[in-house]
Symmetry: C2
Subunit: 210 residues, 2 copies
Amino acid sequence: MSENKKRVLIVEDDKEIRSSFVVIVNSSSQFQVVNGYSSCEEAIKHLNADKPDIVLMDIELPGGMNGIKGAKINKDKWPSADIIMVTVYEDSDLVFEALKSGASGYITKSANYRELLSALEEISKGGAPMSSKIARMVIDNFHVNPNSPLTKRETEILQLISEGKTYTQISEQLFISKETSKTHIKNIYAKLQVNCKSEAIAKANSEKLI
Amino acid sequence: MSENKKRVLIVEDDKEIRSSFVVIVNSSSQFQVVNGYSSCEEAIKHLNADKPDIVLMDIELPGGMNGIKGAKINKDKWPSADIIMVTVYEDSDLVFEALKSGASGYITKSANYRELLSALEEISKGGAPMSSKIARMVIDNFHVNPNSPLTKRETEILQLISEGKTYTQISEQLFISKETSKTHIKNIYAKLQVNCKSEAIAKANSEKLI
DNA sequence: GGCGGTTACCCAATGCTGGGGTATTCGTTG
DNA sequence: CAACGAATACCCCAGCATTGGGTAACCGCC
C-alpha cells in the first residue's frame, strides 16, 4: 500500500505541468505525490506535514524565492529529502548553482513519462539523475588544464598559495628555504602575468591550473 | 566500413580482460579497437599512429605509470580522445583524481557486454558514463554545508579570503571599512576555531562552507 | 654542452596580520 | 517594547609577510 511508496512533493507554478507530473508519479507503484505547490514559500510551510522523500523543484518560480534558494531552505528544514531540479534551461552557471544549493538531480521540463519515472527510480537507489550534457558539464568541471605553463613544483606551490599558506609555511612544508619559495612564486607571477597572491589564485581557478 | 567507426584504444595489463574488451567492442557496428597495450608507456608511444577517439584506461597498471598519470599525458599528447577509466575500485579519492586527470567516464571491470557498449555510446554522444554511486559522489561533492555556523556576510568574506584577498581588498570590494572586515574575520576565526587565513580556508573546504 | 628546473641568497620599503578591546545601528522576534 | 544577533566602525600595537629588484650554483636530460 501507500505506506511503502516514496513520498514525492512537487513545487511548480505551471498548473498543467504540475498536474501532468502528479498523474505520472501516481501511476507508479513505487511513488505517490503527497502535495503540489506553486511556490517554495508554500511548500516550505508544510514540509513537516508532507514529509517528502523526493522533491521535484522548478527553478524558475514566481515570488521572492526561486528554486535555488528554495532548495537550500528545503535541505535545511527537511534534510532527508532528495531534490530533483526541473528546468527548461541547461545553462552552465544555473546548473552549478543548483547543485551547490543541494539538488541531487537535474531534469528538463520536456521530460516525458519514462524520463521522469526513471529519474525518480535513479535517485531512489542513491544515484544522481541528469542528462548526458549535464553529466559531461559536471565532469568537465573537474578537469585540470593540461596546457599549464607552470612546472610541477610551481603547481605544487600554487596549490599551497591557494590554501592560504605563507612563504614561511610553504618553505617548511616543502623542506626548502623561504627564499626559494619566493623565487618560485616570482616565477609563477611572471608566467601568469599577475603580481599578487589573490590574482594568482583567481587565475589558477579560472584556468583550472590546480 | 571501418572509416565511420569510432577508434577505441585499450590500455589494460590483464590479457583476459583486454581480449574480452576487444571482442565486445569489435562486435559493435559503431566501434573498432585500434590497438591494445598493457602499459601507458607503450600506449603513449603510438598515439599518433593509433589516433584513438576513445581510450579505455585501466587505473591499476604495472610499471612506473598508473592510469591517472597516463590519462594526463594522453590528454596532453592526444587531446581529442575521450578517456574512460576502468577500475575495480569506486574509492572516493581515486575517482576525483581520475576525473581531475582528464577522464570523462568511469566504469568498473565487472562491466558486462551491455554496460561497456552503453558507456562507449554515452561518451560518443557527449555524455559522461558512470555508475549511480559515482554520479552521486560527484554531485554530493558540489553541495555546500547547510549547517554552517557562519552568517551570510561572514560566508561572503570567507569566500574572498579563499580567493587570497587581503583585509584592504575585501573592504574595498564590499564597500565597508577595513576595520569591519577585521571584525568579521575575527568572528569567523572564533566560530571556526582557527587563528589564521590558511586554517580558515582548509576548514572552509573540508566542511564545504563555501 | 646547453637548457630548463630547482635551489639559495642579497637589499629595501610597504603594509598586512592577528589579538586585545569598545560601540553604534538596524531588523527580527519574542 | 526589550532583547538579540548581525553588520558596521574605531582604537592600540608588535611582528612578520609581501613584493620587486638582482645573482648564482647544482642537477638531470637531450
